[in-house]
Point group: C2
Chain length 320, copies 2
């Protein structure tokens, strides 16, 4: 690493990632310029991933980039924003080899192209033993139209996109904890854990429809709890309405206790939103899983018999 | 640390720092909203500081915050931007104690008030052994009027603000390497190293006057080199015109070799700019130190006899 300096690294690997953004000035300045479109405001979100904390320490560059780009794009999706670009701080562990950095930039290039989401600027530093990556993501929504967590109304229905729990079970697969599961299901779940599919289109189509929205990064119960707390309402969810993938159903069949992990595990990167009327979303992959009611802010999950489900884990907390 | 979670930490220490920014939504959402003023565009810059790399490992929270806020505000100053606010990612080392976090937030509050520069959002994570802080700073300039590094013109004069070299010598003082210097001068230099004074007002007044501008974070020679390289010009500087503080003059008197450190050391956070006419800046603390000429892009420093000064260090490189 010692023969390559910060400027060389930026020129070789990162400047090409800024090609789609004139305001990035080829990463040759210390700052970038950025303007929202007429009538729009900027949406800004920032997420950090740390080796060994937010991803397994031996994870590939491709999967680290997926987690970093996916989680930030997912935050933009939850606000109903159209992605504009991002700034990136790479803190590389001292023993990082050049091919890792090259693979990192190459994976990033795929995400940039897929989401029209160019690099605008950033910083490259060396840390000691742990790699740390911070991404600040920019999107835009029509002025005053971004969706927050705090707008849930009594009488709304509660919806989620996609299937729930795959991320949590995928982490178990990645750790080798579900060896009895079929290889195809193992691969599906591990992929769901490793490669977030941020719901960008759905998020934008929820502007004007959803009263509140959040992305499921910390777990269904915990993230629904954020909506409940900030909106001052109670969310009643029905366990048998929660959409599950075939792989997750297969895990549940032999391990019924996994219900808690499914309800409280993180990394699904689906959207949870509350709305009165979703007729315009009929072709979307969304499922009604509950309702918003009056009461002490919080979340309750009921089973088919109408009994309260006891959830023993309370979701992933990045700081515990 | 284990009894306090991310949300509690944000609520107690960081939400008050967002009071001045409605778009921060009290830090209760995953994203913030931000709009430049009418006719303005956003300026975005991002800087990371790592314990033991960008500041001494035993540095106080107050000084870490000063480095973080000062270096980012200095980047905004160099673009001619008015500060708007920032997002912050705190990666705390696993052994961080709560009083450190409280002191960090308290110091940040002083900067926020002094520069009308509120917190907009961010992320809080735990790292392993090293604290890592990343700040994304937002400012604004009238549309298309921000100052870049790349606009230096042959025939421009080269100016710097303040005094040069204090940061580099201050680091030596902080490391105990200049014990023979008077205590007052030691204190002055250490303070110059530790507490950047970003040239926000000067930067804004340079819009329409400076053709190119950069802040001196990596050292006079290296940063002047960035202007030269990106502008495709040659900068000829005169050593005896370089403004020095009394403390730095005192160091030079007993250690003439320190000239190299003064020319190549970092952390001054002054502005270097090129301009044709600075009549409107007559009250400012700026000094003409050279001229922009045609030639192979680069920087040369001449002494009083007109001989080329040989500089043995090439400036601080964050990635070496």
């Amino acid at each position: 690493m010692s023969t390559n300096d910060e400027f060389d690294l930026i020129h070789r690997f990162f400047a090409p990632l800024a090609a789609g953004a004139p305001g990035a000035r080829d990463l040759r300045d210390d700052a970038a310029t950025l303007s929202p479109s007429d009538g729009c405001e900027l949406i800004v979100t920032m997420d950090t991933v740390v080796a060994g904390v937010h991803y397994l320490a031996n994870e590939t560059s491709e999967n680290i980039v997926a987690k970093l780009m996916g989680s930030n794009l997912s935050d933009l999706a939850a606000m109903g924003a159209k992605p504009l670009g991002f700034t990136l701080s790479c803190g590389w562990a001292a023993d990082t080899e050049m091919p890792e950095i090259e693979a990192f930039a190459s994976s990033m290039s795929d995400w940039i192209n897929d989401y029209a989401f160019p690099l605008l600027g950033g910083d490259t530093v060396k840390t000691t033993d742990t790699s740390v990556f911070t991404l600040t993501a920019f999107g835009e929504t029509p002025h005053g139209r971004s969706i927050s967590r705090s707008g849930a109304q009594v009488g709304d229905d509660v919806y989620v996109s996609g299937t729930i729990g795959d991320g949590a079970l995928g982490l178990l697969v990645a750790q080798g904890d579900l060896p009895e599961l079929s290889p195809a299901y193992q691969a599906f779940l591990a992929n769901r854990y490793r490669i977030p599919q941020p719901r960008i289109s759905l998020g934008q189509s929820l502007v004007g429809i959803a009263n509140a929205c959040i992305d499921l990064s910390d777990g269904l119960i915990q993230d629904a709890g954020h909506v409940a707390d900030t909106s001052g309402v109670r969310l009643e969810l029905e366990w048998d309405k929660v959409p599950l993938s075939d792989a997750t159903k297969a895990v549940l069949e032999s391990n019924p206790d996994m219900m808690s992990s499914i309800l409280s595990g993180g990394d699904d990167y689906e959207l949870l939103f509350t709305a009165r009327e979703v007729a315009n979303l009929s072709n979307s992959d969304v499922t009604k899983i509950g309702t918003v009611v009056q009461g002490t802010p919080g979340v309750e999950v009921f089973d088919t018999q109408g009994d309260l489900v006891e959830v023993t884990e309370t979701g992933y907390n990045h700081f515990s």
